[in-house]
Every structure is written in C-alpha cells, then in structure tokens.
Point group: C2
Chain length 192, copies 2
C-alpha cells in the first residue's frame, strides 16, 4: 500500500531512497470500508492522511443537523482536520469513506520529525499548504460571486474525476445548494 505514496512522492519531489525509507518507517497503512469513519466530530484529529486508493469526504454538521460537505479526497489527496490536528482541540468535522479506501497515516509528531529532517519534504509540504490555501480562497470567491449553475459548472470543470464518482446530492452539499436545485440546474444545462 505504501507503493502508491512512494510513487507520488517520487513524482513530486527529489527524495532519496533513504529518505523514502525513513518516511515509510513511520507510516501507518489503513484500509477503510465504505461508510467507515476516519475521524469523528469531538475526537482529536491525530493523523494527517494521504489517500492512496478510494474516496473520502470531510463534512460538518449544521445547527439543523444536516451534513455540509467541506471537501472530497480521492487518490493522491490529503485529508485531515488541520485545525484539530494543529491545536489538539476536538474536531468539529467528520471524515468518512465514500468507497472502500486505502490510506497512509502519519501522527503529527512523526510528520514534524520528518519535515524537520528532510528539507525537500518540508519544501514540498509548504508548497502543498500554500496551494491548498489558494484553492480555499478561490472557492470563497465562487461562493460570493457565482450562481448555483455557475458553481456546478465550475465544479465539473475543476474536478471531473470527482463529479463522476460521488453522488449528486453530495456535490449539492459541497456547493451549498439543495439537491433538488442542483438536479434542476443540471437538467436545464443538459437541454442547451
């Protein structure tokens, strides 16, 4: 299971075999069944999670009690509640598997040790964080300026591999519109 992660790292970084072995040594491989939790609200997020196979999502419950999907994560995506992971506070979000999945986990202590020992890994992770931030900022822009239809089209364009893989009502949740609205938006769009 580590092979996928190793391939990912080799394609994105210039790590040596020794460094990769060091990473492997502290990695934790896990299988997740569909619908299985990786993190539950109230627990502390103790791991950063790389998805080597399958599909995860993170979501948070609203006051009304329904699920609002924050992110999806497929192969080669990272997933964690960074807020809880960094602060040690209980997580406000849940993470679960939408498909049978395989993940690589790292405890915070181990991962901190790795980035402090391996400069190229630190560099890579910093690039990753700043791109994650940019993505987040761009998503805010879509929310304050796009209509439901524009948000859907943008999503399909940006994440074709996710959109044809997760149920539509979850995309609706991710976009912040009702499933009925998204269904209508999409069918009107198909007619054009």
């Amino acid at each position: 299971m580590f092979e996928v992660f190793e391939k990912y790292l080799r394609s994105k970084t210039q790590l040596t075999d020794e460094e990769l072995e060091m990473i492997r040594a502290v990695s934790i491989s896990r299988k997740l069944r569909k619908r299985q939790y990786l993190l539950q609200e109230g627990d502390v997020c103790r791991h950063d999670c790389f998805t080597s196979k399958g599909c995860l999502r993170s979501y948070r419950l609203g006051d009304d009690g329904d699920e609002h999907i924050l992110r999806f994560g497929v192969e080669n995506w990272w997933m964690a509640d960074k807020e809880s992971y960094n602060s040690g506070e209980p997580a406000k979000i849940n993470i679960d598997a939408l498909e049978d999945s395989e993940v690589i986990l790292f405890t915070r202590d181990n991962f901190t040790m790795l980035v402090e020992t391996i400069p190229n890994l630190r560099l890579f992770m910093e690039q990753l964080y700043s791109r994650a931030f940019d993505v987040s900022q761009n998503r805010i822009f879509t929310h304050i300026s796009y209509s439901a239809e524009e948000k859907y089209n943008d999503f399909v364009k940006s994440y074709p591999n996710i959109f044809n893989r997760v149920p539509l009502h979850m995309i609706a949740s991710y976009l912040g519109v009702s499933r009925e609205t998204l269904s209508r938006v999409r069918n009107q769009y198909a007619q054009k």
Copy 2:
C-alpha cells in the same frame, strides 16, 4: 512607522533585538491614501504587506464587472495575493485602502531570507499561515450552511472592529449578498 510592527512581533514572538533590526533593515514603509491601490489586477504581487494603521481590502471582479470583497485588513493584519506572490503570475485580485493607511512591505526574496535566517520568525509565520487556512475553511462552511442573516450575525460577532468601520455595502459584498438584502436583514434583526 516600524514601531507598530515591532510591537506586534514582540508580543507574538521571542525575537531578539538583532533579529528585529534585521527585519527592520529590509522593511519598506509606505503610506497609502484612501482609495489608493496597493495592488492592481494584472500586476504581479511583489510584496507581503503588514498593516500598521488604517484599513485595506482585497477584492476581485466578477464576470459582470462588480467587486467581490475577499478580505478586509486592519491594524496588525497581513494582506497580499498569495497566489500571485508565490507563483509570479499576474494577480486576479485588487488591494486598495479604505482609509488613509500605513503599511510595512517585504519583498518575497527578503522575507524568504528572513524566515530562513530566523527560526522563530519562520515558526510564527507557519502558525499564521495555518490559522489563515483554518479561518478560510470556516468561512467556506458559513457560505455553504448559513443564511444571509446568519452570515451577517456571524460576521458582526467575529469582526466587531471591522463591522463598525467599513460601509455596509462592502460587508454585503464580503458576505456574498446584495446591499439591499443586508440592509433588510439587519433592520429585522434590530427589531427583535
């Protein structure tokens, strides 16, 4: 003008006098008149900007041509188009002053030199970035799960110092609702 920034750093970090002097040496102090641009769409964002006095905003134009406010920045807040700053690509956003302001600027090269030389500064900036990311993620949650009224109340609660300082129609833009809707929402709320 550097004093405000120095005070900020002293309160948040354990930097030595030598380190602070090193930072000061590469800092650029600028005054901005109200309505003056710090960054215009299409230009490359060459500086990270600390606001020591006044109020800035960043915004991006929609296809329709109107302004969508991404962030406000008052005293002790940082402001930049990180995407352009890191990539060297032209900025998609604008930054301008809502009040006569004073800012401290750092070029990317200088700031990189600083964080690589001063471990405590690096640590502090990393904490800053991760909190900025958390804030960003939480804002996405408000956009997918809150109504206009809830978004307004949340904003007032989270940023009391900004809400009583910038025009209402800009808060509306920030929240992604029309100024008329926000005006109504707020007056209904006042009646309770």
